[in-house]
């Protein structure tokens, strides 16, 4: 019987390598001198310099995780943690050097900016090379800038929030991030301001044997709303690259934030990213996440529901192909009355790829009348792949409604038979089922990313799966 082949992601666009043409690249390794040099290069204020050194101290004390994928191949002595591209921060694409601009052109960023975005930030290696936002948002008091500018221009706001949501002692790679962070975006949406069109930051790592450690800090003030999109990619090299970014989201009372990510790192990337949101009274944060790239990912966005009636939704899909170990999931802590969380996770494993869904739902003693619903589904497309589901459900009070369900399996013969009995060919039926499986997630993505995702999970409509 002919086989339908669910293609792995077409990486042609993402794999375009530019010459490693930097202005400054720090020597490999992680020492106090290196941290001081990064701090000098970035002209940090004193408090940030001290913060970096403190983080390094904590990094050296903390152990590697004793669980999850094997990351023993990561050798920090082989990673350059800071690579400054040969350009300054620009607000006009024409001022961005040709090779860097071409990369972002091919990724469709300037085009998307014209069509459907209210602002764009573009980071190349360790620094943001382009940042721009529509005039009307500036007038409304919205701040959207690179993190370095924010540290200098809004020191009080940054000091109050920087690595307070994700403290540096959370885990080893957060401490590493605290020591070497560079680039990223800062967003402040003032009280009551509704940003109807999304803002997008795109992170591109070009330099081999290096790391990207961007810091994203978003504050959505009371009653305000925002949709923020984050994209990331890198070309493939033979040696390991590291991404240990950090995202801190503060969603104040009655505010709303939707945080969408399409992560499409190259398959030599270790993606050890940390994302956390603190959610106030009557506020909501929604996460939409597509994880397609990287060799190893350990990524578990987290919502801390601190205010009464706070809500969160997580919608995520992972697609692991040959040589990939994607350990992803979600964490939520219910810390107040009437809070609710909804989790919908899907994964597809193919060609020896491994997908793990790992999660935590904790409903604390003070979170009376809270609700949580978790659903995760895993699709195996061959018998050499692996799919694991490892959810922890920690319920500490009685007045809750909590349910969790998970399914694992292949495409059902019965469903294929049903569709075929309606006159659809076997090939079309199977392709339809795979698309249908991914649809609940793809419909939540911004349209251009949904199209990209459908291209990524491209079906050749011949024969059967499995």
């Amino acid at each position: 019987m002919p086989k339908t082949n669910v293609n792995e992601i077409n990486r042609n666009i993402y794999d375009i390598k530019n010459k490693d043409n930097y202005d400054f690249k720090i020597k490999k390794g992680l020492t106090e001198d290196i941290i001081k040099e990064i701090s000098n290069q970035k002209e940090d204020p004193e408090w940030m310099r001290e913060f970096r050194l403190k983080a390094l101290e904590i990094y050296n004390k903390l152990e590697l995780p004793t669980w999850g994928p094997d990351i023993s191949e990561l050798n920090m002595d082989e990673i350059a943690t800071y690579v400054k591209p040969k350009t300054k921060l620009n607000s006009n694409w024409e001022d961005v050097p040709e090779d860097i601009k071409n990369t972002f052109d091919k990724l469709g960023i300037p085009e998307a900016e014209k069509k459907s975005l209210a602002g764009v930030g573009a980071q190349y290696d360790s620094e943001v090379v382009y940042h721009s936002m529509k005039e009307e948002l500036i007038k409304q008091g919205v701040i959207y800038t690179d993190m370095e500018t924010a540290v200098k221009k809004y020191p009080e706001l940054v000091k109050e929030h920087f690595m307070k949501c994700v403290p540096i002692y959370d885990h080893k790679f957060v401490a590493l991030h605290g020591a070497v962070w560079s680039g990223g975006s800062f967003v402040y949406v003032p009280k009551g301001v509704k940003v109807d069109i999304p803002l997008q930051s795109y992170f591109r790592l070009n330099s081999p044997e290096s790391g990207q450690f961007e810091h994203t800090l978003i504050i959505v003030d009371e009653g305000a709303s925002l949709h923020f999109i984050e994209g990331c990619s890198a070309p493939k090299y033979n040696k390991v690259n590291l991404h240990a970014g950090c995202v801190e989201l503060y969603v104040k009372d009655n505010a709303y934030l939707r945080y969408s990510t399409i992560e499409n790192w190259s398959k030599n990337m270790l993606n050890l990213n940390t994302k956390k949101a603190i959610v106030g009274k009557n506020a909501q944060v929604d996460w939409v996440t597509g994880s397609f790239g990287s060799k190893i990912s350990m990524l578990y966005p987290m919502s801390i529901l601190n205010g009464e009636n706070a809500k969160t939704e997580y919608t995520g899909i992972s697609f692991a192909g040959k040589g990939q170990d994607l350990d992803t999931g979600f964490k939520v802590i219910h810390n107040a009355k009437n809070t609710s969380s909804v989790v919908n996770s899907k994964s597809i494993s193919k060609n020896g790829g491994k997908c793990t869904y790992r999660s935590l739902v904790r409903i604390n003693e003070n979170a009376k009348n809270s609700k949580s619903t978790v659903s995760c589904e895993s699709l195996m497309l061959d018998d050499i792949s692996i799919s694991d589901t490892i959810p922890t459900n920690d319920i500490r009070t009685d007045e809750v409604e909590f349910s969790h369900e998970a399914k694992i399996g292949k495409i059902s013969d019965k469903t294929i038979f049903y569709l075929m009995s309606r006159g659809i060919s076997e090939e079309d039926a199977k392709a339809m089922i795979v698309r249908g499986f991914a649809y609940p997630i793809s419909k939540e993505l911004p349209i251009e990313y949904a199209v990209e995702m459908n291209n990524l999970i491209n079906l050749e409509l011949e024969g059967s799966i499995g």
Partner: protein, 357 residues
């Protein structure tokens, strides 16, 4: 006194989730265990050979080295039951800890020969006020086409630590069915492992647990499916009141080659107080494509509507809650045909509700 780190899950998750193992402080493991003579062993002599020549090899998982070694090297009861044929009458092992038999460390091995069939009831109980210690291993080897039903009842008092490790091997077309009642023990820690090797082999585990006062219940079920068309069904129903705490860790692991295997796991925990704690880790691990695996887990308080309905019929809240718990456990209880044991279990449920809420 030592800190015991027990009952490791087959795959670790984040340390901050506090579920990879359980750490118990102030657990006294007796050096001098003495004799244990209060065992009633009732069985049909025909087709059953009882000996003391038990297996002493290491367990695949188990609770941990300290407790396992204690059983393998230092048990005070060893029983090997070799079953050959279809046994009509229940085989009963009743252990009762009393002032003369305070420590029970047993090593039980059950071998079901091909085409054999038996139901075995293993019950642990104790006098209400005694201090003691229980640590046991039960191994079951179900050979081709055998059918084994095990009813495991833990009703020991809440002063005694209860540790038990179970390991099953299932050959082709065998069926191993466990009904577990886990009510007793200060800390009740269970490790259960099934290795389903044979084609069409099937393992079912139905558990009810009840945690009251400051009891800690730690359940770690691990089932590995290797045989084609093999099956596992795990169903756990529980209730927690007062400041009781429960960890339920259930792993269904589809190993490569177990084509057309199925596995289902559900765990539902009824929380009867706002200080009881329930942690669940229902794992599905899968290295085979052609399988069907499902798990679900839920937790919450007693349904307000149901409670109101029962109370509107003249029952007090306490009575209504007791009825709800009994109803929840009834699916399993109605399959325990030994009336005397069933009555003992029901009395334990009633006792739990006779204390203050």
């Amino acid at each position: 006194m030592e800190i015991l780190k027990l009952n490791e899950t087959p795959k670790r998750t984040s340390r901050n989730f506090n579920i990879n193992n359980i750490k118990l402080e102030n657990v006294e493991i007796p050096n001098n265990i003495g004799k244990f003579e209060n065992l009633a062993l009732i069985y049909e002599k025909k087709n059953i050979i009882v000996s003391e020549d038990v297996e002493i090899s290491k367990l695949t998982y188990g609770l941990g080295e300290v407790l396992e070694d204690k059983v393998l090297k230092n048990s005070n009861v060893t029983k090997k039951l070799k079953i050959n044929g279809k046994i009509k009458e229940d085989i009963i092992l009743e252990f009762k800890l009393d002032k003369n038999n305070t420590n029970l460390i047993e090593n039980i091995e059950i071998i079901a020969e091909e085409n054999s069939q038996a139901r075995i009831i293993i019950k642990y109980e104790s006098e209400e006020e005694i201090l003691g210690f229980h640590n046991g291993i039960i191994r079951v080897n179900a050979k081709d086409n055998s059918i084994i039903e095990i009813i495991l009842v833990n009703l020991i008092n809440k002063k005694i630590n209860n540790f038990i490790s179970i390991e099953n091997t299932l050959s082709a077309n065998s069926k191993v069915d466990y009904k577990i009642v886990d009510f007793g023990g200060k800390n009740s820690i269970t490790n259960y492992y099934s290795n389903i090797l044979g084609e069409n082999a099937s393992n079912t585990i139905n558990t009810i647990y009840l945690g009251t006062d400051n009891q800690v219940i730690d359940i770690n079920y691990i089932v590995e499916l290797r045989g084609k068309k093999s099956n596992v069904d795990i169903k756990a129903e529980g209730a927690l009141k007062d400041i009781a705490k429960k960890h339920f860790k259930g792993t269904i692991d589809f190993k490569k080659g177990c084509k057309k295997a199925t596995g289902n796991e559900t765990e539902n925990c009824m929380l009867l107080s706002d200080t009881a704690k329930s942690i669940a880790l229902p794992m599905l691990l899968c290295s085979e494509e052609e399988v069907e695996g499902n798990h679900s887990s839920s937790a919450g308080k007693v349904g307000e509507k149901e409670l109101f309905y029962i109370m509107s019929r003249g029952f007090s809240q306490k009575e209504a809650m007791k009825l709800m718990v009994r109803a929840k456990f009834n699916n399993l209880l109605e399959k325990i045909y030994n009336e005397k044991i069933k009555e003992q279990i029901l009395t334990k449920i009633d006792d739990a509700f006779n204390t203050n809420f």
